[in-house]
């Protein structure tokens, strides 16, 4: 099983993801340059956090034209695992691989802080090491992470059970103070209907070692490692 980590100009969390995969998880790692038109046999492609192409025009708006993104789209269509974290989530929305958009935080502030997330889908290749209803602690670091979708899309996402993570308090309650950015329905992460494309604003790669204050993020990487071999890619 091989993880691929995409590097765009302006990506900043690629080495953090790479460290977790290579040094903490002990798994196979391949960096993928944005100009690569080949995913090099990777079984899970991560679009990491950062400011790809300087967030010009809108976050993720330019990154979706990178040569590697055409291959990422094809891979997703074939059932391959694609995981967008922070800026990666924004890119997946701009590319139309996930519904909705991420807009400016309601506070207008860049928020860099710990958040609690309730896991609503523990049946996914990304979350199998978690339990449904479990609260995990994962940091965020973004200025534009407020999830928005029109009412029809939002109700479709909810009916389909596409919400994977919601911001909550320590007890798992969706209270206003626990929502750091004004996301509708406290949405922190969603998956496509097929369950192979995950987007999330919080950074699991920054809480995968006890030295960093928490290890809940490692569960997501372990889940992918455990399940990737069983994911059918046509």
């Amino acid at each position: 099983m091989k993880f691929g980590v995409v590097v765009f100009p302006g990506t900043w969390s690629d080495r953090d993801c790479g460290w977790v995969i290579d040094q903490v998880l002990g798994a196979s790692l391949q960096y993928l340059w944005h100009k690569d038109a080949d995913l090099k046999g990777c079984d899970c492609v991560i679009l990491p956090g950062g400011f790809a192409y300087g967030d010009y025009l809108r976050t993720g708006a330019i990154a979706r034209f990178a040569p590697v993104m055409e291959k990422v789209g094809e891979f997703a269509d074939r059932g391959g695992l694609v995981w967008g974290i922070c800026n990666g989530f924004q890119i997946l929305c701009e590319a139309g691989l996930l519904p909705g958009a991420l807009i400016r935080n309601a506070s207008l502030e860049f928020r860099c802080q710990w958040t609690n997330l309730v896991v609503e889908r523990a049946d996914l290749p990304f979350t199998s090491q978690c339990a449904n209803g479990e609260v995990i602690r994962v940091p965020i670091s973004h200025g534009e992470g407020s999830y928005f979708a029109d009412p029809a899309t939002l109700s479709r996402i909810e009916q389909n059970g596409q919400v994977v993570f919601r911001y909550c308090d320590q007890a798992g309650r969706m209270v206003p103070g626990a929502n750091p950015n004004g996301s509708l329905h406290s949405i922190a992460g969603i998956v496509n209907t097929r369950g192979n494309v995950l987007g999330m604003m919080p950074h699991p790669e920054r809480c995968a070692e006890a030295e960093l204050g928490g290890t809940d993020g490692l569960k997501l990487f372990q889940s992918v490692l455990e399940n990737a071999a069983r994911v059918l890619v046509s």
Partner: protein, 94 residues
Amino acid sequence: MSSTSRPQALARVIVTPKPVVNDPQGITVKQGLRTLGFSEVSDVRVGKYIEVLLDASSVQEARARVEAMCRQLLANHVIEDFRFEIDPGGRRAE
């Protein structure tokens, strides 16, 4: 490559957050204006202004091309509305 033989048009594109999208920048600017004494201000929306200089044989052609540009890149239809005007003279704003 820009052709020197074809006439150019200038598109002035305005992109704004959809009315249903929360616009914290607009709210903050409104509060700033009211603090400065502009008590008549009831709403502010902050968007983007984009100029596109393009080769086009006619205003209709320019209009169709810019419409496609807005749909494919300049605006995100999930959160933004757009409108534009075409200046067939092809002059940039001073």
